[in-house]
């Protein structure tokens, strides 16, 4: 069998592997919803102020909440497959619609964060590996250690104190200045201006992570036989580092960027709540206060699906990038 059809089979296999995981998460979602105190009817009755027990019973019948649990689960599964995640009682809108509305600010924040973290992480890691065991290397290690230990929300607040309150360089919150009605390029600039602090905050942790990984990856590659061969050929250290070692060291780091996406979603809940960035994380934060469980579960489900999807895509890209990978 040739390689491309092998890869195709591998992709199909991975797709099929992803389905039970998502199914398990959906089923867990259903039971979590049932675990919560009170059901949708209680919430509705609470909002209406008063409701007779007879009326509530009728409502339960209408929503199918009087049926046995397995039947309810089947209905829930059917709804999820049809992308119906129920209604958010706080916003009085279908959850799916709300989530789709708020998806793109989060994707924007995550994309810029990954690019910043991976880009600078690679540079810093490379720099540390070249200057191994010097004070520069030590400084980078200390930076990574401290960053690992710092809570994201605190970094965000300190950024606001330093760069928004003491120096009025960046806005404290939001995604754009909606009162200014910018259009076209001005609007892009405005959003980019708002994006700076949240992106730096969210990327710090991953920056430290990728720096460490890049350094380790470089050191591992320096120990390989091909480096000795290159030296024996009389290549300069500069050429060995930048042409031979760097290329091979990049691969594992780029892959790890995908694996971290689950943690990145968690981080964006925090960062979005600090900077009032109107994405999914902020939506989750708001749903906490309104006790809007349907909405929270929807966000949770979507982020889980996102993780499965990104991991799949990264695996596939990895196969194409590195022909040595066995696809069986």
């Amino acid at each position: 069998m040739n390689r491309s059809s092998k890869i195709l089979r591998y992709v199909a296999k991975r797709l099929i592997q992803g389905i039970p995981i998502i199914l398990a998460i959906v089923v867990m979602n259903f039971f979590l919803l049932n675990l919560a105190e009170g059901d949708a009817v209680d919430v509705l009755a609470g909002e209406a102020g008063s409701a007779t027990p007879e009326y509530m019973e009728e409502m339960r019948k209408k929503f199918g909440l009087d049926k046995p649990l397995p039947v309810q689960l089947a209905v829930y599964l059917k709804n999820v497959v049809q992308l119906d995640l129920g209604r958010s009682h706080r916003h009085d809108m279908p959850v799916t619609e709300l989530i789709v509305d708020r998806l793109w600010p989060t994707l924007l924040l995550m994309t810029s964060t990954i690019m910043l973290a991976v880009g600078f992480g690679i540079l810093l890691g490379l720099f540390a590996a070249i200057n191994l065991n010097t004070w520069k290397d030590a400084m980078i290690s200390v930076f990574a250690l401290i960053t690992y230990a710092t809570p994201l929300f605190w970094v965000g607040l300190m950024m606001i104190i330093l760069f928004s309150i003491k120096n009025d360089w960046f806005p404290t919150s939001g995604m754009e200045n909606s009162a200014a009605f910018y259009e076209g390029l001005d609007r892009v600039k405005d959003i980019a201006h708002h994006l700076v602090l949240p992106t730096i905050t969210l990327s710090l942790f991953y920056l430290a992570l990728y720096t460490r990984m890049m350094r380790a990856s470089m050191l591992e590659q320096y120990g390989q036989d091909y480096v000795i061969t290159a030296r024996a050929k009389g290549l300069t250290e500069r050429r060995i580092t930048f042409v031979h070692v760097l290329r091979n060291a990049l691969l594992p780091v780029v892959t790890m960027a995908g694996v971290q996406v689950g943690a990145l979603i968690g981080g964006s809940v925090i960062v979005e709540s600090v900077f009032a960035w109107p994405g999914l994380g902020m939506l989750a934060f708001e749903s906490l206060f309104a006790r809007d469980l349907n909405l929270l579960l929807g966000i949770f489900l979507l982020s889980s699906v996102l993780v499965v999807a990104v991991n799949l895509v990264v695996d596939i890209i990895y196969c194409f990038l590195d022909p040595r990978i066995e696809v069986n």
Binding site: F153, W154, L296, F300
Partner: protein, 277 residues
Amino acid sequence: MNSFWNRFSRNKSAVLGLFILGLVVFMASIAGLIYPDDPFLYSRFPLSGPGVNGFLLGSDSIGRDVASGIAHGAKTSLLIGLIATLAAVFIGVIFGAFAGYYGGLVDDVLMRITEVFQTIPSFVFAILLVAIMKPSIESVVIAITVVSWPAVARLVRGEFLALKNREFVQACHTLGMGDVRIMMAEILPNCLSPIIVIGSLMVATAILIESGLAFLGLGDPNVMSWGFQISDGRSMLRVAWWICTFPGIAILITVLAINLVGEGLNDALNPRLRERN
């Protein structure tokens, strides 16, 4: 024991970490003595700066002492971190031990379950769990445990896979020992070192998760915690920088110290690993 300390103390930053961690534990244990009052107790002096009106680290919007909150919050953070980690290690060891020891179908089923829990974005899951169970110390501990055990399960499974066919285990089989006894009394003690290392690092992560939950308003409303202090001081950021700043430094220092100790333990318990670096 002596050689362990020799190896541990070779790593100077680990010793520093242990010293700082000792200070934090000491502060937590004497919090009730130096600040006998309830840390939620408000005073007549809101928004006093550090050193003003007798507040070492200032007071917050309703005059609560920030330093007292930090001292009492240390107890919360350390306890939650420790209990959640112990629970996660317990569950992870059971899952990993059975999966690695029995292999086959048991391994498949247990590892599929672990995989699902590893795929789920852990912090979002923790938020969801606490929101459903209502915020309290117990629900926070449960949530952190639920999102932390898979890493231990994978580690323990790997160790059990590597050890289960070794001679000493075969000897146990010939002696007629039961499976559970072989797992818990014979194999487990042989993989304690990596479990201790991962456990120590997990305490640090647990403290970070706890502070994040408390920051989002998902902490126990009756217990003082660093995350709560920071989220409470958020609205006063413009006028009172100290309310948010000092509890954050407390988290940073504590987590850093635990991480340093964890790395020191790693060096001391896995000398072979160290040489590879």
